[in-house]
């Protein structure tokens, strides 16, 4: 008696097996296939907010981090229609914040930058917002540079679900959404945030930074100097 084949779907023509309850992106990662993403991290519950992981599943656009895989499903990811939309989303993220890659210590280790390279984003296209977002340098060992926040909420989820601290939260709505620190003063120094927290190590961009170690990794040895972000299903970012 032969064992029945596990359920599977096709992703850009490639057969991807999946287990019970897996989403499209989880199954793709297990199979070593990259789907662009920013707010998704396999260690946390999906958030479905950045929409970078949008794919076409059976002809309908859906976030692959929240869409359950189905047997026989036909998924398209690396196609012009989807990549054009992903690029536009990236461009909007870049202009909404202040992302100065040339002097950013996260350059070369930044998922936003690496994804932009991956998707051939050659310019921001839209007008910059140039928001005024002061730094929070109050903590003795960590710096918050809100200029680079993409509202992925990974720090919020890590602090709440893993650290049990609720140090971070998203405040405001729509275009006024922004990251805040849960303290009366609004300063990180007035929370119980610690460098050992999971939240200190999940930021995919350059918001939560360990102080005084910027640029310690030479060019050529940074995460995405060695390989493009697509070469690993979920990037392990140095310095995160």
């Amino acid at each position: 008696m032969s064992k029945a084949n596990p359920p599977s779907f096709t992703l850009d023509g490639k057969t991807i097996p999946f287990g019970e309850g897996q989403t499209i992106i989880q199954a793709a990662m297990d199979a070593g296939v990259y789907i662009p993403h920013l707010c998704f991290n396999p260690e946390f519950k999906p958030h479905g907010s950045c929409k970078l992981c949008t794919v076409k599943a059976d002809g309908r656009q859906t976030a692959s981090c929240t869409q359950q895989a189905k047997d026989g499903m036909v998924v398209e990811s690396d196609i012009k229609e989807i990549n054009d939309e992903r690029r536009a989303l990236l461009q909007m993220l870049f202009v909404e914040g202040n992302h100065f890659c040339p002097s950013c210590e996260k350059s070369g280790n930044c998922q936003l930058q690496a994804t932009a390279y991956e998707l051939d984003m050659m310019s921001p296209h839209f007008d910059h917002f140039f928001p005024d977002r002061p730094l929070d340098a109050s903590h003795p060992d960590y710096l918050l540079d809100f200029n680079r926040c993409i509202l992925c909420s990974l720090c919020v989820r890590a602090s709440r679900d893993v650290d049990g601290k609720n140090v971070f939260a998203l405040s405001g709505r729509g275009i006024k959404s922004h990251l805040i620190v849960n303290a009366k003063s609004g300063h990180l120094a007035d929370t119980d945030f610690s460098g050992d927290d999971k939240a200190a190590h999940v930021c995919p961009v350059g918001v939560i930074l360990k102080k005084r170690v910027g640029f310690a990794t030479p060019i050529g040895q940074r995460s995405f100097d060695e390989q493009p972000i697509s070469a690993t299903p979920h990037p392990v970012v140095k310095g995160a």
Partner: protein, 495 residues
């Protein structure tokens, strides 16, 4: 005489000729000349018309970001800003003495910078003037023209620059805007493979650099009348020299001399530069005018860069460049050489020195060492000085208890030379334009004088909120509708 040419008595009655932009220099500047109906020169000004603002927007940023951010001031000598900022911020992390590996890798990066910048300036930007003549056919007077008529010279220039950039790439991670130097040391040392790759070509670079010195020297000997007098003016001069009085472009003390070569000050710790130098603001340029406090505004301006350095040091600590320095000093005679075209000769001597230093550092085992960083007691203020290709470069920062920059002051090489460059163009205007019909070739004489200083006009305009500014609102026919001006003291007035 030329000092009187800064401001004409009745400018509204005069004809205005503008060289805009000045070509074959880094950054954007223009020269304006006011002439009367007999083509007599009444006013000459070198204006720096671009605007940066680094001193302001670096405030509030974390200090470890500064060496990478400020180097964006420039695409030609970013390493100089990268290293000057790092030196200033060494004081913040308490790194009083770097490890030998860190200091030598920084020095290597710096000499790579000197080599590539000097090669670029001489071969790409200035050799067309010197080889073809200042008023030669404009279509030929460029690096493409040099490559066509003197292919070996052009090839050497390009390869010398390329080699310097490779030195930078191996030490900083990239040819332009790398990250190798960090407060307290470096983030990498040279690998054995990188060292061996550079060693393969360095002897050729030394030989070509020496040939370049001989080429410029020959030009001086062939036409001493032109080279000794073109735009010549007498001035004080200043540079950093090593603690032993020898040429040291990376570290040392400040020394200044008067126009006769007599020492004005020596052994000055650059941490105290504010006691030595004051900066004046003029309402027609974004670039400030520094002067020596002890001599005052009128007499205290000075010159920096290769012409100053080669004559300010007691010796050059590499043998081939020292031979050339002695010949240069002997040629000048009892008095220092003040001729702007002497910059080219001095610059090539420095390029040779840089090549020799690179050779020596590549043979030093410390260059591939593994001890990269050091630290000590936290500081809150630091000054870093380096002799950049164009001259003395000063970076000064204060950092607050939260690690953010609270104050930044930059005095870049070209700023030191502001008055000197204005003097040179006035001399040339009087020598060549006065009473003559203005032609392209004659106007290029003005640019030749500016280029001799190798100005980096991008670097030189960095202050925000302090500089004088004039704003005019014109209608579609060019008629002025209204105007506002802000003085150097920040006061704003109409018209």
């Amino acid at each position: 005489m030329s000092a009187n040419l800064e401001t004409a008595a009745n400018p509204e009655t005069l004809r205005r000729v503008a060289i805009d932009p000045v070509s074959r220099v880094e950054g954007h500047g223009k020269v304006t000349i006011l002439l009367d109906d007999k083509n007599k020169v009444h006013q000459v000004r070198l204006h720096i018309v671009e605007f940066r603002g680094f001193e302001k927007f670096i405030q509030g940023r974390p200090y470890w970001e500064v060496p990478v951010m400020v180097q964006r001031l420039c695409g030609i000598c970013p390493v100089s800003h990268h290293l000057a900022a790092s030196k200033a911020l060494d004081a913040i992390v308490g790194a009083k003495h770097l490890t030998p590996t860190a200091e030598k890798n920084r020095r290597l990066m710096h000499y790579g910078q000197i080599l590539q910048s000097h090669a670029l300036h001489f071969f790409h930007l200035c050799s067309p003037d010197l080889l073809f003549g200042f008023d030669s056919d404009v279509s030929q007077r460029n690096i493409v023209g040099v490559a066509a008529k003197y292919p070996e010279t052009a090839k050497r220039g390009i390869l010398l620059r390329k080699f310097g950039q490779e030195v930078i790439r191996h030490t900083a991670g990239k040819r332009v805007h790398g990250t190798g130097s960090v407060p307290g040391g470096v983030n990498k040392s040279l690998s054995i493979a990188e060292r061996d790759e550079l060693l393969k070509d360095i002897y050729q670079m030394v030989a070509w650099s020496r040939d370049a010195v001989h080429m410029v020297k020959e030009l001086h000997h062939q036409n001493p009348e032109l080279y000794n007098s073109f735009g010549a003016f007498r001035a004080n001069f200043m540079s950093m020299v090593g603690f032993d009085g020898g040429m040291d472009l990376y570290h040392g003390r400040l020394r200044g001399r008067d126009e006769n070569g007599n020492v004005l000050f020596d052994g000055v710790d650059y941490q105290n530069y504010t006691q030595l130098i004051e900066e004046e603001v003029k309402n027609w340029s974004y670039m400030k005018f520094p002067y020596l406090k002890s001599l005052g505004r009128e007499k205290g301006w000075y010159r920096v860069g290769p012409l100053s350095r080669v004559q300010n040091c007691d010796f050059i600590p590499t043998p081939l460049a020292e031979i050339e320095r002695r010949e240069f000093v002997a040629y000048s005679g009892v008095m220092p050489m003040h001729a702007p075209l002497g910059y080219h000769w001095a610059r090539m001597i420095e390029m040779l020195h840089a090549a020799e230093m690179i050779k020596d550092l590549l043979h030093d085992d410390d260059i591939t060492g593994s001890e990269l960083m050091t630290s000590g007691e936290r500081g809150f203020e630091g000054v870093g000085v380096i002799e950049a290709p164009r001259g003395t470069l000063i970076h000064h920062y204060r950092v607050d208890e939260n690690d953010l920059v609270s104050m930044c002051n930059l005095i870049v090489s070209t700023t030191h030379n502001n008055q000197a460059m204005n003097e040179a163009v006035r001399r040339v205007a009087v020598q060549y334009l006065h009473g003559h019909e203005v032609t392209e070739g004659l106007l290029n004489h003005i640019e030749v004088a500016v280029r001799a200083f190798d100005p980096c006009l991008s670097c030189a305009t960095h202050a925000l909120g302090k500089m004088p500014l004039e704003v005019e609102v014109l209608d579609q026919t060019g008629q002025r509708l209204s105007a506002l001006s802000r003085g150097g003291d920040g006061t704003i007035c109409d018209g």
